[in-house]
Amino acid sequence: MKKPAHKPRRISRREFARRGALAAASAAFAHDASAQTPEPALSAEGQTEVDSKVAAVLRQYGTLLTNEEKLDLRRLLTEAQKPLDAMRQFITENWDQPADVLKLYPEAAAAAEPPAPEGRRK
């Protein structure tokens, strides 16, 4: 597979504008979600995801939780869904490398030179 023809961080003006608009919308959405106004219901997909997560927790930990905690759990997962959905609206591309790091071990300074291949010389 070919590498992208352009450098990772160089995006077109159109793409930049699209990202910006989505980011702005996401931010506004996230802020609205925490305001003291009544919140609109989750999307059907969002609700399904919440239900699925609640079920996963209950399957693993249900016996440890009181009824009150189970209700609280659903509330927390429901509240977390909107910012999560907003975050997913942010467009990233294949070449947008995540800010994770594989640090080589041992570090360069400590690493020995690779051994020279052994064999008879003519």
Partner: protein, 479 residues
């Protein structure tokens, strides 16, 4: 015992007197221990007092200094460390009942570095259980109960470095070591009226510290002045191969005072000013609705800097879902850090009703969402850095409110978007919180500055300048 006037001195002032042999490290340590024994329990400030270790270290410091072996500005200075830092020979509880009996047979790197600087550990400071990584609803979310604010004991210190905030504020030690994943140095510093420095991510080793979220955790000083924070940071910063996120030595090391200070011009008799005015960006979208007193006091604080030669202009954080990204990273990494604890069902041992279930919520973050959040982090590292092309620091209220009451529901009473904390911690930016006045009920208000990564020195400079012009950091609580 030494008087309060001595115990409220800054690290620099204490260091000068110790060096001049005007103060005995042993007497100073005994005085802080005595005050900690009397006042500490009133504030729920400590988990453990390290009495024997402190006296042994103090006697050693005194002997060394008497023998002409003065190690530096922290030599003979008593401090407290948040109880998530391993100290050999003592319990390290992580502030949680579930770990009340935990002990490590080694010292955290930060403790080792402070030992090497000749500082004296007098106690393990109280904290919110597991640094609040699983969420908490009440100030009581701690092995040692709710930490009380020395300015008004009906109010909370803030968290999760609750003990360090109370200890420094009430002069139970000369400085303390706190940690921040998202807000845990800035918040208690603001609530308790002390100066707290959150260093650039990777500058201070986390080896021997409880992990809350691997790519968000920072360790930093809380003290009575910005200069004190710089003196402590100089001792604890530096590369550590035992921390995979540790910066290389040339980026991690921090010298204070700077080795070669730039020439300065003088604006009036005794007041030096930088040769180039620092540019302050006043954030207009840091908080949605700050409390009126907080807004007024913090605005007055930056205007004071403007009157003293700083350039002040409005600034705005970039738009984007970075709060959600920070929250996603925190959740995923916290779930990983405590996987064994959660799977074994030990979360039921946590004190707080929210903390008892928060870890299960964290475990539901998908790998896909975590990686998306890390992609967003990389994008916003660039975007926020551009802000510092126009400004040396950005400033905003440390929090939009003063301390909350001890029995407040934090989940609702401190529930507001925190884009500055979100992006600052997401991108590893350094921050400093300085006291800048008092709101109702005699509660301190904090002003925070953030700078470009690795520019911790700029934060110290501007905060020190502010403290040269004000006396908020010298006020004493009624304890």
């Amino acid at each position: 015992m030494l008087s309060d006037d001595v115990l409220y001195l800054t690290v620099r002032e204490l260091g000068e007197r110790i060096r001049a042999k005007q103060i005995s490290p042993v007497e100073l340590t005994e005085s802080y221990l005595d005050r900690s024994q009397k006042v500490g329990p009133q504030l729920n400030a400590y988990v453990t007092l390290t009495h024997d270790l402190a006296l042994a270290q103090a006697k050693q410091a005194e002997a060394e200094i008497a023998g002409g072996n003065y190690r530096g500005p922290l030599h003979g200075i008593p401090y407290a460390a948040k109880d998530l830092l391993a100290v050999k020979g003592y319990k390290t509880t992580w502030g949680a009942r579930a770990f009340h009996d935990q002990a490590f047979d080694y010292d955290a790197t930060v403790i080792e570095k402070l030992n090497a600087a000749g500082a004296i550990l007098i106690g393990k400071a109280a904290m919110i259980e597991l640094a609040g990584g699983m969420g908490y609803r009440y100030a009581s979310a701690s092995l040692t109960g709710p930490a009380k604010n020395p300015w008004n004991t009906a109010y909370w210190t803030g968290g999760s470095s609750s003990g360090p905030g109370a200890i420094v504020s009430a002069a139970l030690a000369a400085f303390a070591i706190g940690t921040e994943t998202w807000g845990s140095i800035v918040c208690p510093s603001a609530f308790c009226g002390v100066t707290g420095l959150r260093p650039t991510f990777g500058r201070v080793s986390r080896h021997g510290a409880m992990a809350c979220a691997y790519s968000l955790d920072k360790i930093g000083p809380m003290a009575r002045s910005a200069e004190d924070c710089a003196l402590v940071l100089a001792a604890i910063a530096g590369h550590d191969p035992l921390d995979r996120s540790s910066l290389p030595e040339n980026e991690a090391a921090f010298a204070y005072p700077p080795p070669e200070p730039k020439p300065r011009r003088t604006t009036h008799a005794a007041q030096p000013a930088p040769t180039t005015p620092l540019r302050i960006g006043w954030l207009t979208n840091a908080w949605q609705k700050p409390n009126a007193e907080v807004a007024s006091l913090t605005r007055a604080a930056v205007e004071l800097l403007q009157r003293n030669g700083m350039r002040l202009a409005d600034a705005k954080l970039p738009d984007g879902p970075y709060e959600a990204a920070t929250g996603t990273i925190l959740s995923a990494e916290n779930a990983a850090a405590f996987r064994k604890f959660l799977v074994e069902g030990r979360a039921v041992d946590l004190t707080d009703p929210l903390g008892r279930i928060g870890g299960y919520v964290h475990q539901q973050v998908s790998a896909d969402d975590y990686m998306l959040a890390l992609q967003i982090r990389a994008i916003f590292q660039e975007r926020v850095d551009k802000l510092f092309d126009d400004f040396d620091v950005i400033a905003a209220p440390s929090l939009p409110v003063a301390a909350t009451k001890l029995d407040a529901n934090i989940e609702t009473d401190l529930a507001f978007p925190d884009p500055l904390g979100g992006i600052g911690n997401l991108c590893g930016l350094p921050a400093i919180s300085v006291p800048c006045g008092f709101a109702a009920a005699n509660l301190p208000v904090g002003l925070q500055f953030l700078a470009r990564v690795r520019y911790d020195r700029v934060l110290v400079a501007i905060a020190s300048l502010f403290q040269q012009h004000t006396q908020w950091h010298q006020q004493r609580p009624p304890v």
